[in-house]
Symmetry: C2
Subunit: 135 residues, 2 copies
């Protein structure tokens, strides 16, 4: 299997606290994000933590999605990492941002498993910001 993968690292601000603390909704969002990203689902794991917040993981062969939420801050930390060329991680990210009603996102795209001229694996980083209109 190709070592190359795309990993999106996202800080989402201004999200809906009700969505961020709803464990069933987070599960649904992860499943639909995987579908949007053309990822097969191997397993899903969700944890509620005190006082508020959810950690969610969706695992795929050599790929994964994770989300950690802080409802009290309207903040979520999202990772979408897809290996190979068949998936569409950016669509998975956009689905999550829309569903948690983010108003702002700081996104870093990391191209992983890139072989340099000396045969050493490295990664390539690009960052940007996104502002969303109120839904």
């Amino acid at each position: 299997m190709d070592t190359k993968g795309l990993h999106y690292i996202v800080e989402a601000s201004g999200c809906d606290p009700k969505v961020l603390e709803d464990i069933d909704k987070i599960k649904e969002i992860l499943i639909n994000a995987a579908r949007a990203g053309k990822m097969d689902i191997r397993s899903i794991h969700l944890y509620r933590f005190t006082p508020r917040g959810v950690s969610g993981f969706l695992i795929v062969t050599s790929s994964h999605i994770s989300i950690h939420t802080w409802p009290e801050n309207g903040y979520a930390a999202i990772d979408v990492y897809i290996c190979g060329e068949e998936g569409d991680p950016e669509k998975a990210v956009q689905h999550i941002l829309k569903e948690i009603k983010a108003s702002y996102a700081h996104v870093t795209e990391v191209e992983r498993g890139v072989k340099d001229e000396e045969g050493i694996y490295t990664h390539v980083i690009v960052s940007w910001d996104e502002v969303f209109k109120p839904q």
Copy 2:
């Protein structure tokens, strides 16, 4: 809970293929990495994929470790993300790199959940390379 977290994104080269394809060894490495990083363990999930390679996840409340391995390339993609100030993610990373016998690592440290002056969450990135002596 504090939104701040440290996320290490690591491409490891020149690793021992025997370790990278040994699912029991990868499980043991993840458990001991969590201990080294002072992380409590909520759950561990391991997958073997064809033709070779392992995906491993160790989940902690609002933190996680993941590894995807390509034994045929001596390559592993590692993530260690720890929220709060009690854990020591760098020790977890160093434990994994030592145990998979990496000869080279490209590391990016992402400081996540950092609030800027406008109240928006962002992240701060620092990258470096590490070369290890043969063990």
